[in-house]
Symmetry: D2
């Protein structure tokens, strides 16, 4: 047992932190200003120049596609990549600079692991280059999507094609004009007795006839442009049979494989957010004076700072342990730990950020600081990829299963 990062990881942490310090943090507001400007000019759905400017710089420094699994052409284990996610996570838009942003990483991983050479040539290659973006169409507005058997979207084989009909939402990233490809979850065999063999995943080009973006969902008022969370109707959308991923009825299997690493990435990023929030909180409290002394000397804040530090430390360790287990025993054995971090990291971050908001007064809830956005994002994460309740039920099932 050893709690030190390896020299390799420490070197990468230092390099990435330096890049963030030099290039990202000083430009943090430029992203929002560009988005605001675009919004004011009537079209918020335009990629920002700042991200595009920084991408070649990151790539030149070797800080590119860091997420890529070691067994599929990458150089880092989950345990090695995880602490880098934390650093990137400190600025909401930073991961894309390194081509490490969700949902692209998850989608690329699906294509890496399960894609045919043709699928990889057509879609994976440009994704790895950061030339296009992608979306994952799973959640549906009409049903409790946490139960995969509820999926209503139909993927029907008609000769050499599949015909897709469905209604999806929370298709994150689909607002970006560069988003060219969707991975769509639907049912090919709704009557299959095995409830986990009913679903399939198929590749659908964003410009396929019948695809219609209905509206951009707002996360607590944020449109998250130019990324965006879209509601999308799929009406008689036809794609070649070769667009099926892995094979009919294997959608649930892909979903399971896709989720593990993504959860670690998400969790480490929100731990980065929590660290950032704690830092902002401390700085603010030292700067503001009320009732005769710096607010940092008001005792109630000591409780919150200490609790923040305690919770962040714990969450990081358990997330790293889950990453370690992914690397050593695989995500099936690690499923309890992965479920645990999925529940705890956003909940923890939400609390730390909430305290930081309180420390910032009115500044905390508006665009003056990144806190309100971070808060709303963590609130969403408690629903995305299954609500907390479903994960807690799974953990409980594993725990109860230890006893007769």
């Amino acid at each position: 047992m050893d709690f030190e990062f390896s020299p390799k990881v420490k070197a990468l942490q230092a390099k990435l932190a330096a890049f963030m310090e030099t290039h990202v943090h000083p430009s943090e507001n430029r992203y929002w200003e560009e988005a605001e400007e675009n919004r004011a000019q009537g079209n918020a759905w335009v990629p920002t120049r700042i991200v595009e400017e920084l991408k070649p710089k990151a790539r030149a420094e070797g800080l590119w596609n860091l997420w890529r699994p070691k067994d599929h052409g990458g150089t880092l284990t989950n345990l090695e990549y995880a602490p880098l996610c934390e650093i990137m996570g400190r600025v909401t838009w930073a991961p894309e600079v390194f081509n490490c942003s969700a949902p692209d990483t998850g989608n690329m991983e699906v294509l890496l692991r399960y894609g045919t050479p043709e699928q990889q040539d057509r879609w994976l290659a440009p994704l790895l280059e950061g030339k296009i973006r992608s979306a994952f169409l799973m959640t549906e507005p009409g049903v409790a999507s946490s139960d995969a058997t509820n999926v209503q979207c139909r993927i029907e084989r008609r000769g050499v094609e599949y015909v897709i009909n469905g209604h999806k939402w929370w298709s994150s990233g689909a607002g970006d004009p560069r988003c060219r490809i969707y991975i769509v979850m639907g049912k090919t065999d709704p009557d299959n007795a095995n409830r986990h063999k009913q679903q399939s995943m198929v590749l659908v080009p964003a410009d396929a006839p019948g695809v219609k973006i209905m509206r951009a969902l707002r996360v607590f008022g944020f449109d998250d442009a130019p990324h965006g969370h879209m509601e999308i109707a799929l009406k008689d959308v036809r794609v070649p049979a070769a667009n099926m991923l892995l094979g009919d009825g294997r959608g649930f299997e892909i979903a399971q494989g896709r989720l593990g690493p993504g959860r670690i990435h998400h969790c480490m990023r929100v731990i980065g957010q929590a660290e950032r929030a704690l830092e902002l909180m401390c700085k603010r409290l030292k700067k503001r004076v009320a009732f005769g002394k710096p607010v940092a000397e008001h005792g109630v804040w000591h409780e919150r700072i200490a609790e923040s530090r305690i919770r962040i430390e714990q969450a990081r360790l358990l997330t790293l342990k889950a990453a370690h287990m992914m690397d050593t025993v695989g995500n099936k054995v690690a499923k309890a730990e992965i479920a645990m971090i999925k529940v705890l990291a956003p909940t923890m971050a939400q609390q730390v950020i909430d305290w930081a908001i309180q420390a910032h007064g009115g500044g905390g809830v508006c665009q003056e600081f990144p806190l309100a956005w971070m808060y709303s994002w963590n609130r969403c994460l408690r629903l995305a990829d299954g609500p907390d309740e479903v994960h807690r039920a799974q953990i409980a099932k594993i725990e109860l299963g230890k006893y007769l």
Copy 2:
């Protein structure tokens, strides 16, 4: 001791509820759609037609200026008006229909209680008619505004005028083009040994030279157009000496008098929101099915529904008691109770709404339901008019003061 509302109140509750049922609830989304349409057309700061259409109807039914204090031309005590606030609070934009919306009610009350006949003629009369709107400029971005001695805005007497220099934000309602008048808090006598005699309040027309709206603050990501929370610079703004309210150095006194009723209104409205959230939660849970049964039958939700009901009931009773004390012993004696409800009602509502959001999945955090807005609003209320910590400290001081 009696926990029944009087027949007079019951009749008003029924009448108001019927109006809401007939006119407001069916049009709830129209408000948001109009705002969205205006926003898309490049100017979100346009009053909605729906509110303007409903105002004469409400007035015709006698549901107008219900907030008006009994000792200043009104017909309802605080205890009688409070339950009406709860009903109006169920739809965020409803109070304006009845000319009962913040911050206008608080500003009108200030003019009623402390305004000169000239000030009343010029500003109160059109406000009571619902023809113009108003804003309250107190909070400043540069200091901890919860400590009134921190106020930086200067109001300097120069002959027959006051010259005002300051920087304010969270000036709610100042985004509305009909907002014509600001009540501005600043220091006339910053060196006065009595720290509560340094501040004054002065009337500043929105179109006075030197007034500049810097930007609209977003609550989480909501712009709250066409109402808006504005950041406003005041640079060498000149107003006639007759615009001073009550007299130099009496700003703190006015602020104290203004806050009591406003807190009861806010609290009752958020109790209305909590009731609405609980209702939405129950309905949703009954409708959605997961893992073989309606989500309403998953035990974890019984805990949350029950806790929601328990907390709402308690918060309502204490708020009504505070209203009763305002009526019977006055807001100085009731200051502990007023501080208590200021802390508890938004905190309670935030929790109930959070559970409701969780019950709604992705729908809960976006514009599909009013929940995300309600949540963000309650989060703000924990900062507005002083953060929770300041009120809790006041309550503690009163409590500790009971013992030697």
Copy 3:
């Protein structure tokens, strides 16, 4: 709606508080010292002299059997009696001084409402005189007793007698040598299709052959002598058929009727405990100095004091409202409110007491202050008469039932 107590109630509050001040508080420790002395001498199960001395004094002042329902010979409504419970509750052993202690009040109420004249002559009369005590044998160690259909105890008719076999525990008060009569819940008709008609309640003299006290249960280490919470075996215990209460199969009905008032009494008493704890906390914090200032000036305590005050105020109001509803619409209509206070009052009190314990350091967890006992008692109340979960489920069922 009116939040003031009536003059009648205020007069009784004053009288009772004066009695407590004069007679009970100064002797508070005597009770524990006597119990300790008896314990040291090898028999803790001896009634204390202090209670016996005070009983005639209380009776002489008319402070006797205050719980007695107005419709059964008493003078106070639930709403009038409730605030008196709060005052008595401040000292754990005080209620018995006024013949107002559980479980006797509940048992007397059962005999008043459902007893035959013979049953009343034999058992109710001496209970009303405070000459004997009683116990209620419902909970069983082998099953989840919150589900009444789980009851294992059998009450079988054999000619002119009932034969009782069962195993009970948490028979509070059965440690007292004056405890002469048990009300025993068991099944007379275990196969009755109506699951609420299977149970009956029968009177069993404590000295009936076959009754065996197995052991005294300790509440977090407290034996609660001389009151005691006993585990009791009933083996072939025979009682005359005339000892049946109300009739075969009516045990559930009696239980339902018995619980309402008892819950209000319990809740008001624990509100009294919470008030006491808050008072002790404030006094302690003002007295102790750490790190250069009174602990009362450490900000973290302001949060806790304020939260304590807020929660106590709310809990009291809702409990009083439940009492009011019991008086005006009856305990069936008030069942949601009664369930609510059953959950909230002990939970609230536990938290306030826990903070008070923390304020007292090592003194808080030992016999130096009444806090540890109060804490453990409230912890038990969250299980007694059904665990919180069962009550919350009932509240949720009522709430969900409001919607289709």
Copy 4:
């Protein structure tokens, strides 16, 4: 970074667990029964036979003095010993079987590190043999002992002796007749400008004239016999000057050095308790049936089981990390982490145990299960060695110190 225990540790875990399984768990109740029997016979302060029987067995297996630091004759680092504490902690009285129980381990460590050869011969040797026991007299009833400058106990040099006057309580273990030696904290130089040079620690034999055990404190209602937490008066107690530890004015320094390892031991033991509580909870929930299904299938419990598992995992990792830091960078650098685990482990365990209590109904709060004792013990730990608030303030100070 590696989350696996070393083979050495795994082997020790297995050996210790096997010993617990074979010898301790089957006799768990015997300890309590012996104590109860002794109590009933009028003297609870008699060492149990079960512990004495098991000690030679443990020693024979090499499971003896496992706590002994590697740099002082032991074989295990903090990181290696910590997981063994967890196993021993599952049964409250188990650590003594291995001569690993508090406060003896801490006292032995003080003697190992700071004792003179004479002090070690006289007191350390028999302690290491498990022949005598010891107590640590620091906390005082009259002051807030968390602030070391509050210590009232005086240690005055008079020629070749020190004369000690003071009043101590929470002297754990001093109830045991084998407890022969006290380490007493007091002030030798109360006027020293350096507030951390005022205190000294001196060895006081339990039978020194002037030592008087006033009473046994009850933890909630538990007397914890035969261990005991005593209140002790020291009146003109004289000890040779050679009994001073390390030198005059170095008491604070010793206290600091003593606390680090002890905190890790305490924390790991309570993590063991939390694991035990979770195990008991799961087993109970599977066994009991209510409202038509095993309670384990009631959803509310899934939330609690999952939260328990999440919190235990996190707490263990952070505690192990603190142990690792103690080993690698020392307890000064690790002081934040040590403060963190001191706060989090008992708080976490208290919550898990509380849920387990709730799952056990009336059984949970009485002597039927070890839960009530565990709960009360964790409650005490939140006060022992400084209340949570003091540790949180220290963590906050370190955190705030990172920023200008």
